[in-house]
């Protein structure tokens, strides 16, 4: 099957799934009468509408190609970093470093993906940016909490720019027999992460009893994780035909994506709570901020990228 056909099948499947979800959401909205369940249903519906928007944006990026996809993810990094820095206590002395992070490091990182300079793309942030940013802060002549400030800025850039940029970087992999289909791999990653997220939420709401990490992330339950992760791995396995993997390999990859996504959600929840917030922002209706949706992707993308590259690419 050629990539165009695969894409059409895939989008049709996703639209059918979302249509079903929308119908269920509307039925629930009309049927549910208890005051405690109403907000849950409203939240679910808000999430479903936001997925429609995400799918629309994604289809747009796929149709308009690599540049559009890279620009889209650069914008995602920009908004995620903006959320992170808003909650991070920084000082006037960090101003230059922060401006550089937004207006130099994000464009350069994504430009390197665009020109497919793999070697520099993987070290640009850990080597160059992480030496430059504290230097710029030090020039500001303010030593109060210097290490904390620097560490927080570096971590913000690491998660929101370096990690997230590994998702569109899938487009630069050269996989034998898979030319021109890299965008499907990106779709696979996002699909598995999102399905895992939502089904963990749904299973958790329906059957959740035993909390996994009540302090860090009270909504995560064993039942939710098992149900959500199991379903996402099954979906990942069923999606093998859009990937360069065999069905079994595809399930293995989905397992790793789900696991990393879970850890990403856990770690970023801890970070956010350490900064005294419940949500990263209020940008996406029903989803909190950009980082509330991208937390799983940020942990899953780099590992998925490198495993695929090591085992499947030239």
């Amino acid at each position: 099957m050629n990539p165009q056909y695969k894409f059409v099948w895939l989008i049709s499947g996703v639209i059918a799934l979302l249509t079903l979800a929308t119908a269920i959401g509307q039925i629930l909205r009309l049927r549910v009468s208890s005051e405690s369940a109403k907000p849950v249903v409203a939240n679910l519906n808000a999430r479903i509408y936001a997925w429609w928007a995400m799918v629309a944006i994604f289809v747009f990026a796929f149709i308009f190609g690599k540049v559009a996809t890279i620009v889209l993810f650069a914008l995602v990094s920009f908004l995620a970093l903006r959320e992170f820095i808003t909650l991070t206590p920084t000082k006037l002395a960090d101003h230059k470093a922060l401006s550089v992070a937004f207006f130099v490091i994000i464009p350069v990182q994504y430009y390197l993906i665009g020109i497919e300079w793999y070697a520099l793309f993987t070290i640009f942030i850990p080597v160059y940016a992480f030496l430059l940013l504290p230097s710029l802060s030090a020039i500001g002549e303010d030593t109060e909490h210097f290490l904390e400030r620097t560490a927080k800025i570096q971590w913000a850039v690491f998660v929101t720019v370096f990690c997230i940029s590994h998702a569109p970087a899938l487009l630069l992999l050269k996989i034998p027999g898979y030319a021109g289909q890299d965008a499907l791999l990106l779709f696979y990653l996002i699909l598995v992460v999102q399905i895992s997220d939502v089904l963990q939420y749904v299973f958790g709401k329906l059957f959740g009893k035993h909390k996994i990490a009540p302090v860090v992330s009270p909504s995560k339950t064993v039942e939710g994780f098992v149900g959500g992760a199991g379903s996402a791995i099954a979906v990942g396995g069923a999606m093998w035909w859009i990937t360069p993997f065999s069905p079994l390999q595809s399930m293995g990859m989905a397992f790793i994506i789900v696991l990393m996504g879970f850890l990403g959600g856990l770690v970023l929840s801890a970070v956010k709570r350490s900064m005294g917030a419940k949500d990263w922002g209020s940008m996406i209706s029903g989803h909190g901020g950009m980082l509330d949706r991208m937390d799983s992707v940020s942990f899953a993308a780099p590992i998925f990228f490198h495993l695929t590259r090591y085992f499947f690419a030239d």
Binding site: L81, R82, I85, T86, L92, S99, G281, S282
Partner: protein
């Protein structure tokens, strides 16, 4: 005008500038919005947070010594923001620096003013200058609305040329009540407290 939309688009990308209304605004009322002042983005942020039907009749007040200095700044202030320029430095003691503002209110339009007169380095507003009081006395039926601009002192503080993108919420407070026989000092302090309460 295209420049207005460009400025609004830029400021939304940069700082969001999403409004929160503690009390609803009426589209047919005349307002003086007064806010804390900590960056050059303040004016555009507050202006773009307003609902468009109110924004179209609202004019920000800008200092002539800064915004009138070069033709580019003048163009941005007058064409992009529909601003009213005032003199911070009074040349002739006879002149009334508030006259252009009174004209705007008399025409039935609203104003955005920053009563601190200059940008502050900190999150909370400093002492207010008396212009707000004189305008309030001259126009007793204009509604005075305190506004708090969050985070902008971090985004583009005085002395920096380049902004850092941070999410800024623009909080519109309830209309400041008028008290009869109140002295200038206590009115200005009460107005400042109203902005601080939104922080």
């Amino acid at each position: 005008m295209w420049l207005s939309y460009l400025l609004i688009g830029l400021v939304r990308l940069l700082v969001g500038a999403a409004p929160r209304f503690m009390a609803p605004l009426r589209t047919n009322a005349r307002y003086i919005f007064f806010a804390n002042h900590s960056s050059h983005i303040d004016t555009v942020a507050l202006w773009s947070a307003l609902p468009s039907e109110i924004r179209n009749r609202t004019r920000p007040v800008a200092a002539r010594d800064y915004w009138g200095k070069t033709s580019l700044r003048r163009f941005v202030a007058l064409k992009g923001l529909n601003a009213v320029l005032i003199d911070r430095i009074r040349k002739n003691p006879e002149d009334d620096p508030l006259e252009p503002l009174s004209e705007v209110l008399a025409r039935g339009e609203s104003l955005i003013i920053f009563p601190e007169g200059t940008r502050q380095a900190q999150a909370l507003p400093g002492p207010f200058k008396s212009g707000l009081y004189h305008l309030a006395c001259a126009f007793p039926d204009v509604e005075l609305v305190p506004v708090y601009l969050e985070n902008l002192h971090r985004s583009m503080p005085k002395g920096t040329a380049f902004p850092v993108p941070l999410i800024c919420t623009v909080r519109f407070g309830p209309v400041l009540p008028r008290l009869s026989g109140e002295s200038k000092e206590s009115f200005l302090e009460r107005a400042r407290e109203a902005v601080k309460e939104l922080a």
